[in-house]
């Protein structure tokens, strides 16, 4: 429920107080792109754009991160043994994250925090990170969040939601963590009935402006092998150049590689983003490659998001409708078309 407000003129002060307690990350304009960067003052923040160029997933799953360190100095009894490195323990706050990106974190929790294993870096960063979201007043033409269980003011995954009402932000504290943050930051101004009306008006106008709709209701009924063997994959993959940009900008693509790097006697074990678009991703030592063909890789990406993931976790598709892959694909492959093809598939 929307219950507080903060004037935009007070934003600088609000951010200054946040920076005292948290590492604060927010959208920052850098020439042609906008990405989440650590900020120290409010004037660095640019909330004017819709989606950032890259999703904020790197704040929880960095593009490259050190897992362990080791020594190869054979005179040391520690040689060859891997040791954990302590994570930066400072609490973090992502300011201005969009509801779709916040929902993506919730979906990725299903992969990284499982009953049998927990990814320690993912889990720890999730735990120390507070998400202060910003509702979308002007969704992009490529946004289709409302079709995939999200929306311009959806709160799933967020701790706090800000709603831009021109001169001020209406504030919705969502989780206990979020309420506590608002109390700590001393935001007391209560939202009046008029403000609440303004919020409803904004919410419905945003909803109406989302014109992209994709069907999902038929996906679960298709037999997996029938979809896998469908002829339309040949058309879908035709123009793909396997550049992998879709996987890098996607907030729900999490695949990673593990590599060792050594300088003299000191080494690190790192993990780096990887992509199912690359043939090396699945190449066996023997030379055999189960996804050696481009068609197999393109199919894998879409089948994973729209069929395998929903079948495995029963929690909807692994797509939040942010539209980044649609905007940035150099050959105009459009996941909305693939939704249509897969959903409406008939043998």
């Amino acid at each position: 429920m929307v219950d507080r407000v903060i004037k935009k003129t007070e934003l600088a002060d609000f951010v200054a107080r946040l920076v005292e307690k948290y590492r604060v990350y927010a959208p920052v304009r850098e020439q042609q792109t906008t990405n989440f960067r650590e900020i120290s003052t409010a004037d660095q923040v640019d909330l004017s754009g819709a989606n950032t160029t890259l999703s904020p997933k790197s704040l929880i799953l960095p593009q490259s991160e050190t897992m362990f360190e080791f020594s190869l100095d054979r005179t040391s009894e520690k040689a060859g043994i891997l040791y954990e490195i302590e994570l930066d323990p400072l609490p973090r706050l992502i300011f201005g994250i969009r509801p779709c990106d916040a929902k993506a974190f919730e979906l990725l929790d299903l992969n990284f925090s499982t009953p049998s294993h927990q990814d320690p870096w993912w889990a720890r960063r999730r735990q120390i990170t507070t998400l202060v979201g910003l509702g979308c007043n002007t969704p992009c033409p490529t946004c289709f969040c409302t079709s995939v269980g999200c929306g311009p003011f959806a709160t799933e995954g967020l701790d706090v939601l800000l709603i831009d009402l021109d001169k001020e932000f209406a504030i919705q504290g969502i989780t206990e963590k979020g309420q506590r943050l608002l109390d700590d930051m001393d935001i007391k101004a209560e939202a009046s009935a008029t403000k609440k009306e303004a919020v409803s008006a904004q919410q419905s106008s945003s909803l109406q402006s989302i014109k992209s709709v994709v069907p999902t209701e038929g996906l679960q009924d298709h037999e997996v092998n029938a979809l896998f063997n469908a002829e339309f994959w040949d058309k879908v993959q035709f123009a793909c150049i396997n550049c992998g940009v879709c996987t890098f900008v996607c907030p729900t693509c999490w695949c990673f590689d593990i590599q060792d790097e050594v300088l003299k006697n000191n080494g690190l074990r790192l993990r780096n983003w990887d992509s199912c678009m690359f043939p090396l991703f699945t190449l066996h030592g023997s030379g055999h490659n189960p996804r050696g063909q481009k068609l197999q890789r393109v199919r894998q990406r879409f089948m994973h998001k729209l069929k395998y993931f929903p079948d495995k976790y029963h929690n909807g598709v692994a797509c939040v409708g942010c539209g980044r892959c649609v905007q940035q694909c150099p050959v105009n492959i459009d996941i909305r078309q693939v939704f249509l093809l897969m959903n409406n598939f008939k043998i």
Binding site: F70, A79, P120, N225, T282, H284, P290, Q296, Y308
Partner: protein
């Protein structure tokens, strides 16, 4: 919660060169911290990630049986960066082991049944673990007849030759050892491909499970014969290989449809596999 990516440090206790081409070596590993060894409780059919600092990790089937205590065995084929480095290592060197990982052959389900073990080439590792497990005095009476069909390209390419001979002399296990070809006049076992030998020896499908692990070509020709012999898909058990990194179902590369080979496998029944895309 413990970090599932952190390998346990182990020391190489001994190295055995298994095959005449010297490409397969068995590494006997001993935990540096005995507490780690106590935590490492595996079942026959599981695998582990072997870690060499500075080179990386590789998923390898555990060749020792859970009934063998105090050490782990891994038989490693020399193919890439990590395995080449490992083949250069000798007794006393320190590496890491992460695991046990994945599922295992369905021993509880197989209890009371006959077990037909069919293996080819260097895929015999977890099958060795299985045979040792089955033959252990505590376990042998829990299973019916045990039949083994194991083939390699030549006599010098068979793994665990001393044990094969030992098992061949026992009367509680039926061994069929075969090679693709040999010019050794003293060769007293079978000659022929695994599928052909399977057809000839025709192990009964009655109350039986077939546990199959081998190169794709062997699998391809063995499965139809097992079906002919009357093995239902639910009782043909296979162990798959896939490129892996994390080993715990997180890094995303080893899936077949919705299943991760590292976590939901590597052991699948043919019935399970037929419901999944044939992408392996």
């Amino acid at each position: 919660m413990e970090n599932p990516y952190l390998p346990f440090p182990v020391k190489i206790d001994s190295v055995i060169t298994e095959t005449e081409d010297r490409n397969l070596k068995t590494f006997k590993l001993v935990f540096l911290n005995s507490a780690d060894g106590e935590k490492f409780v595996h079942q026959a059919g599981q695998f582990a990630e072997l870690s060499i600092a500075g080179k990386g990790e590789i998923p390898i089937g555990i060749a020792s049986s859970p009934t063998e205590h105090g050490h782990l065995l891994f038989t490693v084929n020399r193919v890439g960066v990590v395995t080449r480095a490992l083949h250069q290592m000798t007794a006393g060197d320190v590496i890491g082991v992460r695991g046990p990982l994945g599922n295992w052959y369905p021993w509880e389900q197989m209890e009371g049944s006959n077990v037909v073990v069919i293996g080819g080439g260097f895929a015999f590792t977890t099958l060795r673990a299985s045979i040792v497990y089955l033959l252990h005095p505590e376990n042998r009476s829990r299973f019916g007849d045990i039949t083994v069909i194991y083939g390699a390209r030549s006599p010098g390419m068979l793994l665990y030759r001393d044990e094969l001979v030992e098992w061949n002399e026992r009367d509680d296990i039926q061994m069929h050892i075969t090679v693709d070809a040999t010019d050794d006049p003293n060769w007293k076992f079978d000659v022929g491909f695994v599928p052909t030998v399977t057809q000839e020896k025709a192990p009964s499908a009655k109350d039986s499970y077939a546990v199959v692990c081998g190169p794709p070509i062997m699998i391809k020709f063995t499965l139809p014969i097992l079906k002919e012999l009357g093995f239902p898909d639910e009782r043909i058990i296979m162990s798959l290989e896939m490129r892996m990194k994390c080993g715990i179902g997180m890094c995303g590369r080893c899936n077949i449809g919705s299943e991760y080979v590292c976590k939901d496998g590597p052991v699948f029944s043919l019935a399970q596999l037929s419901g999944l895309p044939g992408e392996y």
